[in-house]
């Protein structure tokens, strides 16, 4: 499997433990949802090819551990990110309250060259739960926060039902692309011991 020159866009997904970061990534990349994900330890990534205006890009999506204790790893994983996705659970207030911490933590650790304009996208996940009856963070509240942080694009998603996931990631890819349009990076060969799983390139658990 020779690798080609292609453009790599690095996306980092952050948010509290259990908000659905791994599920969102898997729903987008593999169009699958499982009830049996394991807690992410360290970080994982999946890649997906996306087409944008006749060009093909590789979206490298980094799924991180939600527990605060793993944050010292952040600096290594955040480096070189083109877009940061902040995820919260619309049924858990605390996970929304923490978005600010995650955003600041990212800006400190990744230290992007232009922090004011670094692209973030916010996802309010698990809108399917209990038909929306257990939801505690309103769309209005979430949008207000996004507006206050420089008009961060906001999506309500359900990784379980696949609702809005594709649209959200298209926006993520677009914003990542805007961030560094000219930077060409090489995607090294991964050791494909799984055989033929072209789309899935496992970062850590190979």
């Amino acid at each position: 499997m020779a690798s080609r020159r292609r453009m790599l866009l690095k996306v980092i997904i952050l948010g509290d433990s259990g908000v659905g970061k791994t599920s969102l990534m898997n729903q987008y990349v593999n169009r699958k949802f499982s009830n049996q994900y394991k807690a992410t330890i360290g970080a994982d990534f999946l890649t997906k090819e996306v087409q944008f205006e006749d060009r093909i890009f590789t979206l490298q999506i980094w799924d991180t551990a939600g527990q605060e204790r793993f944050q010292s790893l952040g600096v290594a994983f955040y480096r070189g990110a083109d877009c940061c996705v902040l995820v919260y659970d619309v049924n858990v207030m605390k996970s929304f309250d923490h978005l600010n911490n995650w955003r600041e933590e990212f800006l400190i650790q990744a230290s992007p060259s232009d922090p004011e304009n670094f692209p973030f996208v916010v996802l309010g996940n698990k809108v399917d739960v209990d038909g929306g009856n257990s939801r505690v963070v309103s769309e209005k509240k979430a949008k207000a926060w996004c507006a206050s942080k420089g008009n961060i694009p906001y999506f309500e998603t359900s990784a379980k039902e696949g609702f809005n996931v594709e649209a959200a990631f298209q926006c993520i890819a677009k914003n990542a692309l805007k961030n560094e349009p000219e930077d060409e990076i090489y995607l090294p060969d991964t050791i494909d011991v799984g055989g033929g799983q072209q789309q899935r390139s496992s970062g850590c658990e190979c």
């Binding site: 330890i41 010292s72 799984g194 190979c206």
Partner: protein, 623 residues
């Protein structure tokens, strides 16, 4: 979560140990023979501190003391830490372990930050983080001196306190990128005294080369990469600066030779019980074995000008011979740089890997070159015990289990001993007695959190947070295993209760993701709640440092791992370097949960010293 530094738990464990061990180990250090490493020409020692110690494990007996120095040469500042020789008080610590941790001159141009821990009680320590992201293990200052160290550094390099954390000092953190560039250019070539290949000079010197090489990535022309690596290594050999570290080259050839001889015999065992099979299903693209036959070409640059000491080689082999890495699937690496066209091979630019089918693998069941033995059964187990139930020869038992595993029905009894809950010397009666006492003790601790009313919990954020995290994790731990599957599974509740009780038993460490992964098989085997808890406690005695907030245990192990790969497989090391992976964070999960999600288990409960453990398991998997 907002505890002051003072309560940093990593310290607590050490302080507790230090109360008993501190004075003894200090005396040992003082009487130990000092190292007499020769300083380079024109170098000036600007700081020297004795009894600076690293703690590779939490065992006081496995600490390594040494001398920390700051050396000024020209306009550059270097740091070294050389362990004392002849610390023979502990047989488990070999000279090799000591050499592994040695910090050969490291330029401050390559240091990113220094984090200090200066609690009011107990030892001060600091963690030096390199620009690569790699961190040296925490250096404990038994006689104080962290402040003096930082003050001295500050006189010679640009050091600023981090705005985010008052205990972190950033080195050469210039706002102005131009200044940063200038400062890196100041580093004269001639000071390439560092013994490891990642010297600051060679990194910079080959920076443009590496950029060129990046363009080759993916174009798998093994021949060109051979000459590339050889070119670089030869360059290093001819570099006069390398003469200063001939002993390291010697080590290279020694270890490399050893590794090639022994790893070529390595094969994996496979497991046949349900638990492993389940794990394997999820990870059928697993693990690498390393069948590293050497091409003449490759051997040459690694050869040192000094012949290896055959005695030392022998000692090294003896040290490792008895150990191996049981895992499930194997992928043998072919001699790198040879052309292969076989279907079952995956060519990458770090070599060619032969994919081995798991079924075929049973035939290959060799353990460190020996045929895999059948699992330890009841009858044979009895032969290891005296009439009262004491394990007579624990070493032989460990070895036996290592080569064959244990029958499932026997696991419950044997794991409790292997994990350290019961001692090898305990009798049947003593074990029974301990079980009953510990059961009561467990209930007492469990009652501490069970008695927290919802009202009280409202004002107990830390408890709610911990419980929330545990609740979230137990429902995503091994749920596809029948033991844990289905709604309202009582075993899932047991996982939660045990973890929550542990977070009260060891409130400082609390709960950290990954713990549920470690507890799950213990509960599966032990079945009983209190027994599982105490076995988990025993396991965490050993693995606890990995879960610390400052992750000093992880840093220590990732560092050791990087050094081992550097010693054993330079091309792979270079590959990681090129791809900016020298921090080895990609191994983080493997180490944190002991390869559990890869499906290897039995060996976990046999405790070997750190270095051997890394060598046995981690390095071959990476390779």
């Amino acid at each position: 979560m907002q505890e002051p530094e003072l309560h940093d738990l990593s310290d607590d464990a050490d302080y507790a140990a230090s109360q008993q061990q501190g004075s003894a180990s200090m005396m040992r250090c003082d009487s130990g023979k000092r190292s007499s490493s020769s300083e380079p020409e024109g170098a000036e020692i600007v700081y020297l501190k004795d009894n600076v110690t690293i703690h590779p494990t939490q065992f006081a007996s496995e600490r390594i003391s040494g001398r920390l120095k700051l050396i000024k040469q020209g306009s550059s500042l270097f740091m070294t830490w050389i362990p004392y020789k002849g610390q023979t008080t502990n047989a488990r610590l070999s000279e090799k372990d000591r050499k592994l941790y040695t910090i050969r001159p490291v330029s401050f141009a390559d240091v990113r930050s220094i984090r200090r821990h200066t609690p009011a009680l107990g030892w001060q320590y600091m963690i030096v983080v390199l620009s690569s992201g790699l961190a040296f293990p925490p250096l404990y200052f038994y006689n104080g001196g962290v402040r003096e160290f930082l003050a001295t550094v500050k006189q010679h390099v640009f050091l600023v306190r981090s705005a985010e954390d008052a205990n972190v000092f950033l080195v050469n953190d210039f706002e102005n990128p131009l200044q940063r560039t200038l400062s890196s250019l100041e580093l004269p070539r001639a000071v390439s005294i560092a013994s490891v290949p990642s010297t600051p000079v060679s990194v910079r010197g080959s920076a443009s080369r590496e950029n060129e090489e990046r363009t080759d990535v993916g174009v798998h022309d093994e021949n060109s990469s051979t000459s590339r690596y050889n070119g670089r290594q030869r360059q290093k050999v001819h570099d006069p600066a390398r003469d200063l570290s001939i002993h390291v080259l010697e080590k290279f050839s020694l270890v490399t030779k050893f590794a090639r001889e022994t790893t070529s015999q390595l094969f994996r065992e496979t497991h046949s019980n349900g638990f492993d099979a389940f794990e394997r299903r999820n990870t059928n693209q697993s693990v690498l074995d390393y069948n590293h036959k050497v091409d003449e070409d490759e051997e040459v640059p690694l050869k040192s000008p000094v012949a290896p000491d055959p005695l030392e080689l022998e000692r090294f082999q003896v040290l490792y011979q008895d150990h191996l890495m049981p895992t499930s699937t194997i992928v043998k690496q072919k001699a790198p740089y040879r052309k292969h066209n076989h279907d079952d091979e995956a060519a990458t630019n770090v070599g060619t890997f032969e994919l081995i089918d798991i079924k075929e693998f049973d035939k290959l069941s060799l353990v460190w070159g020996k045929p895999r033995q059948p699992p330890l059964g009841l009858e044979e187990w009895a032969t290891f015990l005296d009439s009262e139930g004491r394990v007579v020869d624990s070493k032989a038992l460990k070895k036996r289990i290592f080569y064959g595993g244990i029958e499932h029905k026997l696991r419950r009894e044997v794991w409790a001993i292997l994990l350290g809950y019961h001692t090898y010397e305990s009798t049947y009666a003593e074990r029974e007695y301990l079980r009953s006492i510990k059961k009561t003790e467990y209930e007492t601790i469990k009652n501490q959190w069970q008695s927290i009313s919802p009202e009280q919990a409202k004002r107990f954020t830390k408890f709610r947070e911990r419980k929330g995290l545990i609740d979230k994790d137990v429902v995503r731990t091994d749920r596809s295993l029948s033991f844990y599957e289905g709604d309202d599974n009582p075993n899932v509740n047991l996982l939660r209760d045990i973890l929550l009780t542990y977070s009260f038993y060891n409130f400082d460490l609390g709960y950290c993701q990954g713990m549920s992964d470690l507890l799950s098989p213990i509960l599966f085997v032990m079945e009983e709640e209190s027994e599982s808890f105490w076995c988990f406690v025993a396991l965490m005695e050993r693995l606890g440092p990995n879960f610390n907030r400052d992750q000093n245990g992880m840093h220590t192990q990732l560092f050791a791992l990087s050094k081992l790969v550097e010693l054993l497989d330079i091309p792979l090391h270079n590959y990681f370097k090129q791809n900016d992976c020298l921090n080895y964070f990609f191994c983080f999960r493997w180490i944190l949960i002991q390869f559990k999600r890869l499906g290897s288990w039995n060996y976990l409960f046999i405790h070997f010293p750190l270095c051997q453990h890394l060598f046995r398991v981690h390095v071959p998997i990476i390779m």
